[in-house]
């Protein structure tokens, strides 16, 4: 369905979450606790059928860590961005969306490696890009590496 049909569908079903509009996609802001069942509803309901997670990434908004899910449907070809915010910076933990999309396994491995966000019930969480004894999470804004990185 088209963008505004999707918007008012989301307005009815997820009225408690805020809905904003970025340059390309509509964004649904969901609190950390019920991220998994919101995404499960979006995937399972035949009206939306978001069965394709094409990009899952994290953005370091300096005090908080923000997780962004880009999902689309291969039937209706409409796109949606779902965002959550994780306040806790020392050990941020969130549900893994691996049960819904198997692509999430590699995406979340990389997010854990770069941002340090732990994913519970993830099949094999490991540092995928860097060596195991690497200290710190490079893509965080407060990552200190004075020898290599010149501000």
């Amino acid at each position: 369905m088209s963008k505004d049909e999707l918007k008012n569908y989301l307005g009815q079903h997820f009225s408690e979450f805020s809905l904003t509009e970025s340059f390309d996609f509509t964004e649904l802001h969901v609190p950390k606790e019920n991220i998994l069942d919101v995404l499960k509803q979006l995937k399972e309901s035949p009206a939306t059928a978001f069965d394709f997670l094409f990009c899952e990434t994290a953005v370091d908004r300096n005090p908080a860590l923000e997780l962004v899910y880009h999902i689309t449907s291969t039937q209706y070809r409409h796109d949606l961005v779902v965002k959550t915010v994780l306040e806790d910076r020392e050990n941020p933990v969130i549900e893994s969306v691996y049960p819904l999309w198997t692509a999430a396994e590699l995406y979340e491995d990389e997010i854990y490696d770069m941002f340090g966000i732990r994913f519970s019930n993830h099949p094999k969480l490991r540092r995928i890009m860097l060596t195991d004894e690497w200290v710190g999470y490079p893509l965080r804004k407060d990552y200190q590496d004075d020898k290599m990185i010149v501000k």
Binding site: S22, F23, D24, F25, D51, F52, L53, F54, C55, T57, V59, D60, V68, H70, T74, R77, W101, T102, A103, E105, L106, Y107, E110, M114, K124, R127, I128, M129, L130, T131, P138, L139, Y143, I149, V150, K151
Partner: protein, 375 residues
């Protein structure tokens, strides 16, 4: 050693052993380590280890200006260098609202499709070499060199061209560009019969790829696979058709999908895509527009704050550039959604239960570029 008869069963039980198809291996075409547990010849479990070529491009682009970080993308998937630069340029043009002249759009599309041709030709050579035939590698490179001469004449370099920049193309093409491209295209078209003679019609190659490496449509979608790997399992996901950019909607070409789901289908989809690329280039050459090839931009670019996402169809799938900008001269966060990273999931999904030789054939037809995975 007591005699064999009274050795009960679990003492004679065979045990699996783990081999590393390691960072340096002819079949991985780069530095991807795949830890494979084997029971004899059949593969029981696959665990890829990445990061051997992780250079931290996303962290670097946070310290660079918008126009500076574009040249890094052609070091990620170096076989679709033009298309990667095209993605970043489109993103910045969309964000700042820059108008691109018609001639620049046509040149960009021709360069993209030529790049797709060179990528498929190199894939064809190295896929045949993984399955054992060495001569197709040289036949594939013969045609590829013809197109690389074209790139070198017009853009200055053979592999990492940095030719497509925000606002158009770096320099206008040579005057006899259209006739050169037409000669190269005719030659590549006439060489197609070599491809069928050498590999497509080859009896052994068919037996090595048909019914091998089965990726169902549902698992392709849930794994996030895009490009020829997904289209060979029947998923319609060609970005040039779904979200056309720079004049793809005005061109008529078919999106090749094949319900076959096995290595042979992936091979067939790429061979047909080569023909479609040639068809596209011929259409673009007919009415090749005149005029300006680049709109001048001021030195330091400031992108208005916000989040932008641009999708482009590279030779291996959908490259998505996700940028968060806070209005300064440097991007706040730049994330590249690369096709090979999710296609790698398909290797682990398909690999279980295959023989080693089939695992190599499947990895050859999934066509991974390792710096594209590690970034």
């Amino acid at each position: 050693m007591e005699n064999i008869e009274n050795l009960n069963n679990e003492q004679l039980m065979t045990e699996e052993f783990v081999i590393n198809i390691g960072p340096q291996h002819p079949a991985t075409h780069g530095v991807l380590r795949v830890e494979v547990t084997l029971d004899g010849e059949t593969v029981k479990d696959i665990l890829p280890h990445l990061g051997y070529i992780h250079r931290g491009i996303e962290k670097m682009s946070e310290h660079m200006g918008y126009k500076q970080s574009i040249y890094l993308t052609s070091r990620m998937d170096y076989l679709s260098a033009h298309i990667n630069n095209h993605a970043c340029s489109l993103l910045i043009e969309k964000a700042c609202g820059i108008e691109v002249p018609e001639r620049a759009k046509a040149i960009r599309l021709i360069m993209d499709e030529l790049q797709r041709l060179t990528s498929h030709q190199l894939w064809w050579g190295s896929c045949a070499m993984d399955i054992g035939a060495v001569t197709p590698f040289f036949v594939g490179f013969r045609d590829r060199e013809r197109i690389l001469d074209l790139f070198e004449a017009n853009t200055g370099n053979r592999l990492t061209m940095n030719y497509i920049v925000p606002g158009g193309v770096m320099r206008d093409v040579l005057p006899n560009f259209v006739s050169d491209v037409r000669d190269v295209i005719d030659e590549v078209k006439s060489n197609f019969k070599d491809y069928t003679k050498l590999i497509t019609g080859n009896f052994i190659f068919r037996h090595r790829t048909q019914g091998v490496g089965y990726l169902t449509k549902e698992s392709a979608i849930s794994l996030g696979c895009t490009g020829p790997v997904a289209r060979a399992s029947g998923v319609q996901c060609d970005i040039r058709k779904l979200y056309p950019y720079d004049g793809y909607d005005k061109l008529d070409f078919k999106e090749i999908t094949d319900p076959g789901c096995d290595s042979w289908a992936r091979y067939f989809v790429r061979m047909e895509e080569m023909k479609q690329s040639i068809h596209i280039i011929e259409q673009l050459l007919e009415n090749f527009p005149e005029g300006e090839s680049r709109t001048k931009l001021k030195g330091v670019l400031r992108v208005p704050a916000g989040e932008y996402y641009q999708r482009v169809e590279t030779a291996r799938g959908e490259l998505g550039v996700f940028m968060v900008s806070d209005g300064s001269t440097k991007p706040y966060r730049l994330k590249y959604r690369t096709p090979c990273f999710s296609n790698l999931g398909a290797v682990t999904a398909i690999g279980k239960g295959l023989k080693i030789a089939d695992l190599m054939a499947t990895m050859a037809t999934i066509d991974l570029i390792v710096p594209d995975i590690d970034r």
